[in-house]
């Protein structure tokens, strides 16, 4: 079972689906963010298992770059959440439509 590529791909697809379901079904902005992280990790798993399959190091470097981008994303996303939570006192992702409005000061 651990010898076949397909079981790793199946695990990665299950995790990606869980992350996608988290994005579409939850309204809490923290859980949306964590689901995005889980989807990035599932893609990392696909990259690394394909790298093991073809015995090349390139996908591992790509996975490393994805992790670095996730770190940068975490910093910006979390500071944005802190600012919006201080203004609105809610974690509902629906109130974040304020970001798309032209006149957002009240």
């Amino acid at each position: 079972m651990a010898d076949s590529l397909l079981s790793y791909i199946a695990l990665a697809m299950i995790l990606f689906s869980i992350g996608f379901l988290g994005v579409i079904s939850r309204k809490n902005i923290f859980i949306v963010y964590m689901s995005i992280e889980l989807m990035l990790n599932a893609i990392n798993l696909i990259f690394i298992s394909l790298g093991r399959y073809y015995e090349t190091m390139v996908p591992q470097v790509m996975a490393m770059i994805i992790i670095a981008i996730a770190a940068a994303e975490a910093a910006v996303f979390l500071s944005l959440i802190v600012v919006l939570y201080r203004r609105k006192k809610s974690l509902d992702s629906d109130i974040f439509t304020v970001l798309s409005q032209k006149d957002a000061h009240e």
Partner: protein, 168 residues
């Protein structure tokens, strides 16, 4: 033996992920996400990527999710601040049913690849040495761009979180 390790790690990862989308409190979600990410790190080690195993533990579980936990505790969230989610379970089940054909498509596409044994390779593959050689020979420009991106993210986070712009 390796099969048992793989199955246990996969179950930890899947249940961690399910716990993440089912718990109501963000703090429990973050803790079960840590379980999921550490189990995924173990699976990276099974796939002959020991360096990425370390990076996963140190960077993901140790830095990113700890930052997330810190922010969750720092905001001091009460139950009133959490959004109502009346349709959560329904959406999850309907979404899961809609995602099954997509998953079958991907698995069918990958099952056309010829079967190859995936046992753990020797100590050169995936080590820091070969990883660094690959990174700095073929991926130097993306590496430098990542440093610029991290710097931009740092500046952006500081600008967002400045006190004056929040109160004004």
């Amino acid at each position: 033996m390796v099969d048992i390790v793989f199955i246990v790690l996969a179950l930890f990862a899947i249940f961690g992920g399910l716990g993440m989308i089912l718990f109501a409190q963000p703090i429990y979600c973050a803790l079960s996400l840590i379980v999921c990410l550490v189990a995924l790190g173990g699976i990276f080690a099974l796939l002959s990527a020991p360096f990425l195993f370390m990076v996963q533990i140190i960077l993901y579980a140790g830095a990113i999710i700890t930052l997330l936990l810190f922010i969750i505790m720092f905001l001091n969230i009460k139950d009133v601040n959490l959004p109502d989610e009346p349709n959560k379970v329904t959406t999850i089940f309907v979404g899961a049913a809609l995602l099954i054909p997509f998953n079958i498509l991907i698995l069918k596409a990958f099952s056309t690849l010829p079967n190859k044994p995936m046992h753990i390779l020797g100590k050169d593959f995936g080590s820091i040495h070969s990883f660094g050689i690959e990174l700095f020979r073929g991926w130097l420009v993306p590496f430098e761009l990542i440093s610029i991106l991290l710097l931009a993210a740092l500046v952006g986070a500081v600008v967002y979180a400045r006190k004056g712009s929040v109160d004004g």
